[in-house]
């Protein structure tokens, strides 16, 4: 490691920092693992002679993406994804930090689980891997996990993963107790009794295909209940993967009346609709389900007006055996680490979202929610960076994806924009060939 030069100069880039609104051509200097300096006039007096120079002409340089909703599979489902394969996928997608979910096997509901993730991440040493811990023991929805001890051991947020915290009293206690330490509670917003047995969005296609539907109301009912509990407790509350127009409306109104809540969505909710299920395509089965075109448009509007704070990939690897089943039996989930940036940039290319808003939802906002000094360009801050070309046109090819599972319904999709180089702590962890 000592052979690596201490100084690296990334030159001729379009510097983008959504935290400050910086958007100018310029250069950036890395000293070891940290950003030493950056700006348009940085090297007016010449480059430091000992610096390694990386010319980024034509590319944007931004803080590395922080993906706050990633399922990995380690421990327990290493045949679907490991910390290594997820890290490789993240690096190729320009993601420099991920926050994985606790729905592993065993679930991450105690300190040893967190320590295991941290150790594996140190061994793999590609991107930063943070862990969210369970709100309730064994994700059972009944007894609170040791939130304080887990936070002390490094948990960046708390969630029961793909299960809603359904019991109102448990949710109230979780929100209230978490205030002791200022912890963030992340909800999978779905009223389980309304969603039970459902395989896709309730609508015409589900009716025709003979599949039980999950109504949009299942999402908004849970959110509306939780908002009352947030008002009651003052807890920190974040809504994961918002998928419906109804939910966007309710969240918008709650924010307007001053409630300090946040939410995210995933690229598939602004890129695909229920019609992508087509003829029982299980790769398009996801939880919550893909919704209608009206919902898709509402998600985009929610992103544009700031109602939706964060875009997270909701990366959910599923192996072939979990997907090659009758639709209702197939596992839900879409992988997304490598398509997070291009699908988001597609909204920018379609002029639905401005570049800075899009980047903010991918960097500064999630980093702040997770309490990490990431997602921004700061002198002295960690050199976690992504260089991307917003114009490169390419087709998603599932066989070329680094993820161990290939369950991407975007296969063959034409997209524009892609990460060309990813650096974590000053070290290049991905460079596009």
């Amino acid at each position: 490691m000592n052979a690596r030069p201490r100084l690296r100069a990334l030159i001729n880039a379009r510097l983008l920092d959504p935290a400050t609104g910086l958007d100018s051509s310029g250069h950036l200097l890395i000293d070891g693992t940290r950003i030493a300096d950056f700006g348009p006039r940085l090297f007016n007096d010449g480059l430091p002679p000992e610096a390694e120079v990386i010319d980024l002409t034509g590319a944007c340089l931004a803080p590395g993406l922080v993906d706050m909703r990633v399922q990995i599979g380690e421990p327990g489902n290493e045949h679907k994804e490991t910390i290594l394969t997820a890290s490789l996928a993240a690096a190729a997608g320009g993601v420099t930090a991920v926050a994985c979910l606790p729905n592993t096997d065993p679930p991450i509901d105690d300190v040893s689980g967190l320590e295991f993730i941290a150790r594996r991440a140190r061994e793999v040493k590609l991107v930063k891997v943070f862990a969210q811990a369970a709100v309730t023991r064994q994700l059972g929805g009944k007894e609170l996990a040791e939130l304080g001890l887990l936070a002390e051991a490094g948990a960046v947020a708390f969630t029961d993963g793909t299960k809603a915290i359904a019991d109102a009293r448990v949710m109230r206690r979780a929100l209230n107790y978490a205030r002791t330490f200022g912890l963030l509670i992340v909800q999978h917003p779905e009223e389980p009794t309304l969603a039970a047995g459902g395989a896709m969005n309730a609508g015409e296609l589900a009716t025709r295909l003979g599949l039980a539907g999950i109504p949009a109301a299942a999402e908004v009912i849970m959110i509306e209940r939780d908002l009352r509990l947030v008002e009651l407790t003052g807890g920190r509350y974040h809504i994961a993967h918002v998928s419906t127009a109804l939910a966007v409306d309710v969240i918008r109104q709650a924010k307007q009346r001053g409630l300090a809540i946040t939410c995210d969505t995933a690229p598939h909710y602004f890129s695909l609709t229920e019609s992508d299920v087509g003829d029982y395509r299980t790769f398009a089965k996801v939880s919550p389900p893909l919704r209608s075109e009206t919902d898709r448009q509402a998600i985009i509007e929610g992103l544009a007006d700031g109602t939706i704070d964060v875009i997270a990939s909701d990366h959910t690897p599923q192996d072939q055996d979990s997907k090659r089943l009758p639709f209702a039996q197939a596992a839900a989930g879409i992988i997304g680490l490598e398509t997070l940036l291009p699908l988001t940039l597609s909204l920018v290319n379609q002029k639905r979202l401005d570049l800075m808003t899009a980047l903010r939802a991918l960097t500064e906002r999630p980093a702040r929610l997770l309490g990490q000094p990431l997602g921004r360009l700061t002198i002295g801050g960690p050199a976690d960076l992504v260089a991307f070309d917003p114009e490169i046109a390419w087709r998603v090819d599932e066989t070329a994806l680094r993820s161990k599972s290939k369950n991407a319904p975007f296969d063959g999709l034409a997209v524009r924009g892609r990460a060309t180089r990813t650096l974590v702590d000053g070290r290049t962890v991905f460079a596009l060939e």
Binding site: A202, E204, T207, R208, L209, L211, P215, D279, Y280, P326
Partner: protein
């Protein structure tokens, strides 16, 4: 049954030139019959015409033809069935095919064999036709992607049951002389019914007008968008209809409670003579079977030989399945 019986070489219905109908042999533009949705009237009527011929064949003492001699059909049923399986078996045997029945309950799943493995195993045995019934919607489609033979959907989950809709159409056609312009009420457990979905698509394709009659808990939320009028009371739903199709209340498929009690259901939605009086005087009563007498239909109505065509449906089912096998194997074997 003696598979070596001399073939009915002159039987008109098995003349592949189509001379029996005076029309050129019809080629069905799909390998499989998985759903009615997507079929056009021009694809549906040739099947019904041919089935009509097979009705005559089936009424002769010697019902055997050699049309499918040497071909193998497997009935792969992941769900209990008596009439559909028997109907396909009879249809295939009367056309001279060899038939194997495989009843697979959950047991192969317990052994760890997946649907795909089952499909690939059967595919390796060079079948000609696979008839599949499965409790999951879309399972037959999934299986069809993995095999080279003709696949016929014998009912998948709540999705479709295309041969049932075809036999229902033939039953109506033979009694009423037409399908277009008829008013058809489909009553009962629409939510859990693949028969209802196939019938809605078929009847819409041929120009009939379809109503569904059921309490909202037994209707899929978007049923109106499939091109039907929605009624919640039998009295209005049956008013002036030509056909009353009753569906079986599928209590075994229900997750949770959809109706307060069977007694209440029969009171409001069971077909009785009083409710039937709202339909046209010559309205026909149909039921795909098996019936729950006293639940969705009163025995007095079900057994009324002047109105009920329930046994016609069973008879014509064999003919329709013979027609399907005939037409689909033309595609698989005889195409230049």
């Amino acid at each position: 049954m003696n598979d070596l019986a001399p073939p009915l070489a002159q039987a008109p219905a098995c003349d592949r030139s189509g001379a029996s109908t005076g029309a050129p042999a019809f080629l069905f533009p799909h390998r499989d019959l998985l759903a009615i949705y997507g079929l056009t009237a021009a694809e549906i009527f040739p099947i019904l015409d041919l089935a009509d011929h097979y009705v005559a064949l089936n009424r002769r003492p010697n019902k055997k033809s050699a049309l499918l001699s040497g071909r193998t059909l497997v009935n792969l049923f992941f769900e209990n069935s008596t009439r559909t399986r028997t109907s396909f078996e009879l249809a295939a045997k009367r056309l001279g095919a060899d038939v194997i029945n495989m009843a697979v309950d959950g047991s192969s799943v317990k052994k760890g064999e997946t649907l795909i493995d089952t499909a690939m195993t059967l595919n390796a045995m060079h079948l000609d036709v696979l008839v599949v019934r499965h409790p999951e919607s879309g399972a037959v489609k999934l299986l069809s992607r993995k095999v080279n033979c003709v696949v016929i959907n014998g009912g998948d989950g709540n999705h479709e049951h295309p041969t049932q809709a075809l036999l229902d159409a033939l039953t109506i056609l033979r009694r009423k002389g037409r399908l277009d312009g008829l008013e058809v009420a489909i009553c009962g457990d629409i939510l859990h019914s693949r028969v209802a979905r196939s019938n809605i698509h078929l009847l819409n394709a041929v120009g009939a007008r379809v109503r569904v009659v059921a309490p909202p808990t037994l209707l899929p939320a978007a049923i109106g968008r499939l091109g039907v009028d929605v009624h919640h009371r039998m009295e209005t739903g049956l008013e002036g209809v030509d056909i009353v199709m009753m569906l079986r209340l599928q209590l075994e498929r229900m997750q949770g409670q959809f109706i307060p009690s069977v007694r209440e259901y029969f009171h409001f939605f069971g077909l009785t003579r009083e409710k039937l009086a709202f339909a046209k005087p010559d309205a026909l009563i149909m039921h795909p079977g098996p019936m729950n007498r006293g639940v969705e239909i009163d025995s007095e109505v079900a057994d009324d030989i002047k109105r009920s065509v329930i046994l016609d449906q069973v008879e014509l089912g064999v003919a329709v399945r013979m027609a399907c096998l005939d037409i689909l194997t033309r595609q698989a074997g005889d195409q230049p």
